[in-house]
């Protein structure tokens, strides 16, 4: 796979590391002893049956949940490790981890541009008084963030939808808008929670292309949750498989695909191909776990 070669050539160091992360809700163990190592510049896919703990892992990484045990470390571009434990979601975002949601969460009554602009201007300095008085630096900020948002919408293929309400966009466009919004906070790691769920085959192919472009052109590491095996196999450099909150396999896509434990977890039996796997996964229903 050429993408893998690129990744190896960049020889990225670690960007995200978890050690022994365990998350419990009362007696229910959602994540057990998760060791995840993500290298800078790679696309790492997390797969697993519904309820395996994938979205919980995202929520732990982005500060929505605090795990009972374990370490979460983000390694900044300058090599300095920063613990993510106990950080609020907005602080995690500012460190450089941006995410999308499995059940799309856009600001439906704002336009596509405004949705992205909000993330682009989250750390601007101009305060309420400067904005009330229309100070020049506030206007400059405004212009800068609008320009940046338009750029990102263009990048995500939504250039023609700039002034449309987020709530009126079709499903695939909403997914891409969410990605544009996440990109607007200039992340080093982008966490995508089922970006292709509910989209058709053409849209899935576009999504795969967009994820690759984010990874290659913007040099952003991508952590991807996805049920669609075809998509995972085509974009991921490495795959991690979760089941019942544990890592049951890890490795290159084609290795993982053949791993008997993985096949077992998905189907309870061998002899079925990846396409079926996806359908089974989708048919069981959406997990709803990001609150």
């Amino acid at each position: 796979m050429t993408a893998t070669a690129t990744m190896d050539a960049s020889g990225g160091g670690e960007v995200l590391r978890t050690r022994g992360v365990t998350l419990r809700f009362g007696g229910l163990v959602s994540l057990q002893d998760i060791d995840l190592t993500m290298r800078r510049g790679e696309i790492l896919a997390v797969i697993g049956p519904n309820g395996a703990g994938k979205t919980s892992l995202f929520n732990v990484l982005t500060g929505v949940y605090t795990p009972q045990e374990g370490e979460l470390t983000f390694i900044r571009a300058d090599g300095a490790p920063v613990s993510l434990l106990g950080r609020k979601p907005y602080r995690v975002n500012r460190l450089g981890l941006a995410r999308t949601f499995q059940n799309i969460r856009l600001f439906a009554a704002l336009t596509a541009l405004e949705n992205v602009q909000i993330a682009a201007e989250r750390a601007q300095r101009s305060g309420p008084i400067a904005n009330m008085l229309g100070m020049p630096w506030a206007r400059r900020d405004q212009k800068a963030s609008a320009g940046r948002a338009a750029e990102l919408l263009e990048f995500a293929g939504l250039g023609a939808r700039v002034n449309e309400l987020a709530g009126n966009l079709n499903y695939g466009d909403q997914r891409r808008l969410e990605m544009a919004r996440a990109l607007a906070s200039d992340p080093e790691v982008l966490l995508l929670d089922e970006p292709a769920a509910g989209t058709n085959r053409v849209e899935k192919e576009q999504m795969a292309a967009l994820i690759r472009r984010i990874n290659e052109e913007l040099a952003i590491s991508v952590l991807l949750i996805e049920h669609d095996m075809r998509l995972v196999m085509s974009v991921a450099h490495r795959v991690m498989v979760l089941n019942f909150g544990r890592v049951i396999a890890e490795g290159r896509p084609e290795q993982v695909q053949r791993d008997p434990a993985v096949v077992e977890a998905y189907l309870g039996a061998a002899e079925e191909d990846a396409e079926n796997t996806r359908e089974t996964g989708d048919a069981v229903g959406r997990e709803d776990a990001d609150e």
Partner: protein, 461 residues
Amino acid sequence: MSGGTASEESFRRPKVDVARLRRDAWYRRPRWRRLLGFVVAGLALAVVTGPQGAGSTALMSSLKATFTSVPRLGVCVGIGVLLWAVREFGAPLRAPARTAQDGVARGVAPLRRFYAAGVWPKLAVGALVLLAGAVIPNLLSPTWQVVFVEQMGVYLLLAVGLNVVIGWAGLLDLGFVAFYAVGAYSVAFWTGSLPVQPPVVLNPFVVIPIAVLTCLAAGLLLGTPTLRLRGDYLAIVTLGFHEIVYLVAKNADGFTGGSRGTTKMIPHPSIHLFGLDYNWMFDPLPYWYLILAFTAILVVLFSRLENSRIGRAWTAVREDEVAAQASGLNTVRYKLMAFAIGASTSGLAGVVYASKVGFINPDNFPLLASILVLSYVIFGGMGSIAGVLVGTALLTLLPQWLKSYVPAEDRYMYLGGLLVAMMIFRPQGVIPSRRRQREIKLAESGVGGADATGAAGGTTS
């Protein structure tokens, strides 16, 4: 994430309830039920517009008079039945009505486009409104001038402030008038009208920034620990805050003068600057101009704020706090900002009010005032400055206007009826805000949830 791959529930064939498929009796069908509703509404109208009674016997005799007076009863029930008939059988009327509506819309469209095109039309409209606001009170009787200042004007300022809190940031604040009281008592303190003396006695104008900062601080003080709460919980907290402020004002005799209020008259504001010498005295008109100026300034500042990153962040926080946080917004900070800005505006209104009336006591700041401001904002259209101003003007003038037509005690009943009707038929308010209206529309078509303080009413209709 829960459950894992639990085995599915075994599928059960639904039992057909044969009894439910039977035809309903005629009086259980919706059309006739609605007729009953309209007749009852007509009867209620007859009762409320009929003769009044106090005490048990007088009540019965007044009811008797209502139900035996055929003309009144007939007219009221007739109105009910007519409305019902139009609703049920008015389909042929609807087409011409729609054509007429479309015609009007088409006629107005170029004007709208012109208005939306740039900043100048808006400025022109603003200037016209300002001019009308300056001229109209001159043509009114002194009683109405007082109404304009003490009823409408002060509430205009309050409503513009509350609109920031509830309309933009979506925080349900039931204790808004507490900050108004803080502002009023600040001016009483700094002008030496309370039992305790200030270090220096100041002119009310000089107190304005002090009062605004005091309210800002009070807003931050209340907001910092409580703005993690949402919707209903925040409403209760602000309610409690209002009670605390009210009771302190009432019981801290040595400081606030207790329930009798200020001991001396709060001086009227005056200007002595660069040879300019002017004193706002008892005449209401100068105060009206003062309020008009403040309102105009606030409208300009706040509408800039709405279209800035701050306003967008507020919308984001209001619509989806989780997504806002994930986009890097410190949501508590933005909520606090809205709360503090609203509180400061409320404090400004308090200063103007206190220096106009001269004497204040705790009963100038009842909980009802908070509720009224809230209803003005919702009636006018949460989040839309124009709507909020129009709503406040309508609802504060209505009871005064009704005074000449209905018994004084009944006035607020009609106000209540108007609010009920408005929430049922036009929950987005008189002039809805663009963003809020979209939220209602999207919620009706099942996209996203309008929040509790926002468009929830629209989803049920």
